[in-house]
């Protein structure tokens, strides 16, 4: 059966160190984590290693395609990437030098779904909040609880 997998891509220590010496706008572009979704599964022999390798290679191609070949008039990022990536072909080793990728294998939750499931009988367990908007949200939950408990 098909399902969506989540991968988070982060800079390595080597990239962080490199970014300390470059333009802050470019550094921000390259240091922010990236979240990728990927459709996986089915009756397949594909392993975690295979899926991870695909992410790494496509990530490099995406950088090259969008920010080097397809660079805008502001080509500061292009210059930095050309220097970091070197000349194609790009490999997994190159990715591993500058980035790391983690597949999310934990239990995922949707806030709204959890809120819907728990709000009617649980909000009194939560302390008041000094943040006015969060406090108003807690009050709304408490009033829903009161209505629910007074219902016949």
């Amino acid at each position: 059966m098909r399902f969506e997998s989540l991968y988070i891509i982060r800079p390595t220590e080597a990239l962080k160190k490199r970014l300390e010496q470059i333009d802050p706008d470019v550094a921000q572009m390259l240091s922010e984590p990236r979240l990728w979704t990927k459709s996986e599964g089915g009756r397949t022999a594909w392993t975690d290693k295979d899926n991870r390798a695909q992410i790494k290679l496509l990530f490099l191609l995406r950088l090259w395609s969008d920010y080097v070949v397809g660079a805008s008039a502001d080509d500061r990022l292009k210059a930095c990437l050309e220097n970091m990536l070197g000349i194609p072909p790009f490999s997994e080793d190159l990715f591993d030098h500058w980035w790391e990728v983690e597949r999310f294998d934990g239990v995922d939750e949707c806030f709204e779904e959890v809120e819907h499931r728990l709000s009617l009988d649980q909000p009194h367990l939560l302390a008041n909040s000094p943040l006015p908007r969060v406090e108003a949200w807690l009050s709304d939950l408490a009033s829903q609880e009161a209505v629910a408990s007074s219902a016949p």
Partner: protein, 162 residues
């Protein structure tokens, strides 16, 4: 013998009957007719190397060059899992709580089913190893722990046939 012995492909079971390609056989036609009568759509197209079949929603996509009898049995198990989940009022393709674990649960069930077939019909040691690897691939430790520690998870998966 299909492409099972090529690098990257699904491994051979070691039993000719189970490695037999299905497309063009009477058995396959009957299978398609049967599951389409139950609200599934079967389509054929080439899939990526190492993949014989995919199910998304109620669409079953089969790779004609790869789809063997053992794959048909695996997918049949999924079809029944989907139907039985729906009978329990659970949307097998839905999102929300337990959705990810549920898909892993179904894969675990289908591969465990193959393990039972393998023991009965003498699948190769390599293939049995592949099945074990697949179960570990899908049935993550975090899912096992959720099931161990959450009453709600135990209740949900207690209702869900695999």
């Amino acid at each position: 013998m299909p492409s099972a012995s090529l690098p990257g492909e699904l491994p051979s079971t070691g039993v000719v009957e189970f490695d037999r390609l299905m497309i063009g056989t009477e058995q396959y036609l009957r299978w398609v007719e049967k599951i389409e009568s139950r609200g599934f759509l079967v389509q054929q197209r080439a899939l990526t190397r190492g993949t014989a079949c995919e199910i998304a929603d109620r669409v079953v996509t089969v790779d004609p060059e790869r789809f063997r009898y053992t794959d048909l049995l695996h997918e049949s198990r999924h079809i029944r899992q989907i139907e039985r989940a729906e009978e329990q009022g659970i949307d097998p393709f839905g999102e929300g709580r337990f959705a990810t674990i549920r898909r892993a649960w179904f894969e675990r069930g289908a591969y465990e089913y193959e393990q039972r077939l393998g023991r009965k019909f003498g699948f190769s040691r390599d293939y049995l190893g592949f099945l074990e690897e697949r179960i570990n691939h899908y049935w993550k430790r975090s899912y096992q722990q959720e099931l161990r520690f959450s009453l709600a998870a135990q209740e949900h998966f207690g209702r869900l046939w695999r």
